[in-house]
């Protein structure tokens, strides 16, 4: 499957979706003007990947910030991963900065809401 790679901008995150290398990662800032538009190709890539996933899928959520419009799209990413769990060992790694209590509490909340293995990882 062809990887989906996006370089970060001031308001959109870096995205690496690469099945061959086993790298699944969204990082940096997510506050696009149109979140639905930005996440549409990501969701469609993941839906296709979920048909025939790798045995293991570790998804790194390394966002430093996301706005509420992005959160609705991220929850859809998590729902796809949750559904995929029947076919792949899925692990969501949620990274948050030590001083960022809002990102920690969002991680705790999503961990509780989603039925998918979910790890909270603190970074300095």
């Amino acid at each position: 499957m062809k990887p989906y790679i996006k370089t970060a901008t001031a308001d959109t995150p870096s995205v690496i979706l690469d099945a061959d290398r086993g790298i699944f990662e969204i990082s940096q800032m997510s506050l696009p003007e149109d979140a639905v538009d930005f996440y549409a190709p990501i969701l469609s890539w993941l839906r296709e990947y979920a048909q025939d996933p790798n045995p293991d899928t570790v998804f790194n959520m390394k966002l430093e910030y996301f706005n509420t419009a992005s959160s609705k799209q991220l929850i859809q990413v998590l729902l796809i991963l949750q559904e995929m769990e029947k076919r792949s060992n899925v692990l969501v790694k949620w990274f948050y900065k030590e001083i960022d209590e809002d990102m920690l509490s969002l991680g705790e909340e999503y961990k509780q809401i989603m039925k998918v293995p979910f790890e909270l990882i603190v970074v300095p």
Partner: protein, 370 residues
């Protein structure tokens, strides 16, 4: 109703399409100078303005900011305002750059003479004067300051308007205003610019502890510039993280939902302030909205303000998973997110403007100790 909401509307209401006013109040540092120039760049990028005009504006801004950095005096007493002010004001195709700073009162007469002399010269005489200073004094710190003013006068093509407001025996507040000559200047322009309006606005900002003010057309580009001014002006801390995320929600709300009074609805008129008090920051956002949406919006604010933490979390979850959520008045998760992150109620006001338009103001307090 809280009368400060009316004052915010009063500050805002003269904004017209393509106008903007950006004001920073605080210490002028090299980093801040870069940020303000970046901000100017992002707001000029979309404008019709020519490259030549942009260069003039950068140049004058750069000179004025350096001028402040060179002359600002530190204030030893806490009860008077020692912060500098930088204003970029665009109205009816004219640009004005205004700076203000405290200076030693004993230097004010010398400066006054210098400015009056520069203003009395024709463009040719200015060139000669500039050359004379370079030849006779070389590049000393003092001559640098004079040359800066002369260059500003040359680049602007206009007189340097100034005002000096005595603070006490020791200090004077010095305002310097430059109009940047634009090429497509129309003679029928009915706008009468006055430095006094800016000085009045400065009093309003000072009275409300406002450190950053922007009014005009909101778009994703100037939103990002405002955010980077916040990020560059403060060290990373839990409170900066909160300010950043609440600011995004407030500003994107304007970018997405703001209306205006024009027939041309292709722009988003809004106003935004950051205020800093001893124990808290306050973010204020204001914009026009359609009157028909006001009732629903009021209900939504009141409902969310009335919720406790548990109810807020439940509401957040239910909207997060509702992918068909379409509501023309609400940002969906925005107000809930602001309430959850700020920990307090979201203060708002709706002022009726006419049959079809209301003016919405939202105020959010964020405690410094989170």
């Amino acid at each position: 109703m809280d009368k400060s909401f009316d004052l915010i509307y009063k500050q805002f209401k003269d904004v017209e399409k393509d106008d903007f006013q950006y004001i920073y109040r605080g210490d002028i540092t090299p980093k801040l100078i870069m940020n303000v120039l970046d901000f100017a760049k992002s707001n000029l990028a979309k404008a019709e303005d020519t490259k030549k005009l942009k260069n003039r504006i950068y140049y004058i801004m750069g000179e004025s900011l350096q001028n402040i950095a060179r002359h600002q005096v530190a204030n030893d007493t806490d009860n008077s305002d020692n912060s500098a002010i930088v204003v970029i004001h665009k109205k009816k195709n004219k640009y004005y750059i205004v700076t203000g700073n405290l200076m030693p009162a004993k230097e004010q007469d010398i400066l006054k003479d210098k400015l009056d002399h520069i203003n009395s010269l024709s463009p040719e005489e200015l060139n000669d004067f500039c050359r004379d200073i370079r030849l006779t004094t070389g590049f000393t710190e003092k001559s640098g300051a004079s040359l800066g003013l002369i260059e500003m006068a040359k680049k602007s093509g206009n007189k340097l308007v100034y005002s000096m407001k005595p603070i006490d025996d020791q200090k004077t507040y010095f305002y310097l205003s430059t109009e940047v000559l634009t090429q497509n200047e129309t003679s029928d322009c009915d706008y009468e610019y006055s430095l006094n309006d800016i000085i009045e606005t400065h009093d309003f900002l000072r009275g409300n502890n406002i450190t950053l003010s922007f009014k005009g057309d909101f778009n994703q580009d100037n939103l990002l510039s405002l955010l980077s001014i916040l990020n560059n002006g403060m060290n990373e801390s839990p409170v900066r993280i909160k300010l950043f995320s609440i600011m995004v929600e407030l500003l994107q709300n304007i970018v997405k939902h703001a209306d205006n009074l024009d027939a041309d609805t292709g722009w988003k008129a809004g106003v935004f302030y950051i205020c800093e008090q001893n124990d808290r920051f306050r973010l204020i956002a204001g914009n026009y909205i359609k009157r028909e949406l006001a009732d629903d919006l009021r209900k939504r604010f009141d409902r969310i303000n009335g919720m406790n933490a548990e109810e807020l979390n439940a509401e957040y979850k239910s909207i997060l998973f509702n992918f068909n959520y379409i509501n023309p008045v609400s940002t969906g998760l925005g107000i809930i997110d602001i309430r959850r992150k700020s920990g307090g109620k979201v203060d708002y006001s709706l002022i009726n403007i006419n049959n079809t338009i209301d003016f919405l103001t939202v105020k959010v307090d964020i405690k410094k100790q989170v």
